[in-house]
Symmetry: C2
Subunit: 218 residues, 2 copies
């Protein structure tokens, strides 16, 4: 599989979460940063290789084979992110672009040895699950902070968006994975939240709350 084919497969995999009944050409083009016509071409090739099911005008879905291949790319991406943060002292906002390149290195032995070296981590630095060598993913019990009610408490376990500007904002506010968050107020006008993060009170916008995953604390 080429570099480009792998990128398409991964994007289709991610889009499948929200569009399980078929991923659109345009959505793929948006993620890959290419044009719809280019997507049509590539999608035909992937269908030819039986990695996806493609019906003209109806969008695409991954086959079993394509799903496993996509998971293996995601596995590599996330393991490399763990390596960069844990071993090379990268910050969580610096790792994504490098991992985008590293995920294409073709060596099963490499990735399995890396996995062992890192102690078989189950989550990456952004709280996303890492598929194991068989492609199995441990379901993480989490929900968006924006879905919590006033008075509820949770522990920050992941980010939905991992744009570096967002991650750097979180660093500045001292919000990290593991932080205890309690909601003490909701503004109905703009849906902004007043929260207490590890004892410190602050106000965050709805957009922030919409991109933070928490595990509900009872």
């Amino acid at each position: 599989m080429t570099h480009s084919e792998e990128n398409y497969l991964k994007v289709i995999y991610h889009l499948s979460v929200v569009s399980p009944r078929g991923v659109n050409t345009n959505a793929i083009a948006g993620m890959i940063e290419s044009k719809a016509s280019s997507v049509t071409d590539m999608v035909k090739k992937l269908a030819e290789k039986e990695l996806i099911l493609y019906q003209k005008y109806q969008g695409v879905t991954l086959t079993e084979k394509g799903l496993l291949a996509a998971k293996m790319i995601v596995r590599k991406h996330r393991l490399w992110e763990v390596f960069l943060v844990e071993k090379l002292d990268f910050t969580w906002d610096e790792v994504h672009d490098v991992a985008e390149e590293l995920e294409h290195i073709k060596s099963e032995k490499l990735i399995n040895k890396l996995d062992a070296f890192l102690g078989f981590p189950t989550e990456d630095p952004h709280g996303d699950p890492i598929p194991n060598a068989k492609g199995e993913i441990k379901k993480i019990d989490k929900q968006l902070l924006s879905d919590l009610e006033t008075g509820q408490k949770g522990i920050c376990v992941g980010v939905k968006d991992s744009a570096s500007s967002f991650l750097q904002y979180l660093d500045k506010q001292q919000i990290a994975l593991g932080s205890k968050i309690e909601i003490i107020g909701k503004e109905t006008f703009d849906m902004s939240l007043t929260i207490i993060v590890d004892g410190k009170e602050m106000i965050i916008s709805n957009k922030i709350a919409n991109n933070l995953f928490v595990k509900l604390a009872t």
Copy 2:
């Protein structure tokens, strides 16, 4: 720079050692495993980018810029080889192909952090020198085992060829970097050598002796 351009540059760099007055089209084609006509095309592109000097029919030489770029690729290749052996427990015959891919990852920060993580190694698992971040290379005092006289002793410090079949042969004979080698006899007919490796006597062919580097022990 593309993947392919980097491979050409690296090959030209290696061939420059034996052909400092200009590397031939055919020699490059042999190493890249492509055809002379393809080399001509690529060589024009590299000259256009001022990475090499190219005169029709006269071979190519690296510019300062091209030399530094080539050294950075070699640096990455060898640091990744050290990583694979030291941290992921690969054997020295398994690392080259993976490093061929890893050497193209584009991140200065990554390679310098990797360098630090590995403790700034100066040689790779095959005894080849690793250029530092400035492109400086520590000259290693070594010579071919085949150039030693009967009675001389040395310590194995590197291999000239690093084909996995050769490396596996060395493993089988328990010859490794650091082994003490003494020449106790030379056969004039086929230039085979009788040697003592860490106390163990054995016979090796001229081809083996021609691919082993030793540091002379006084």
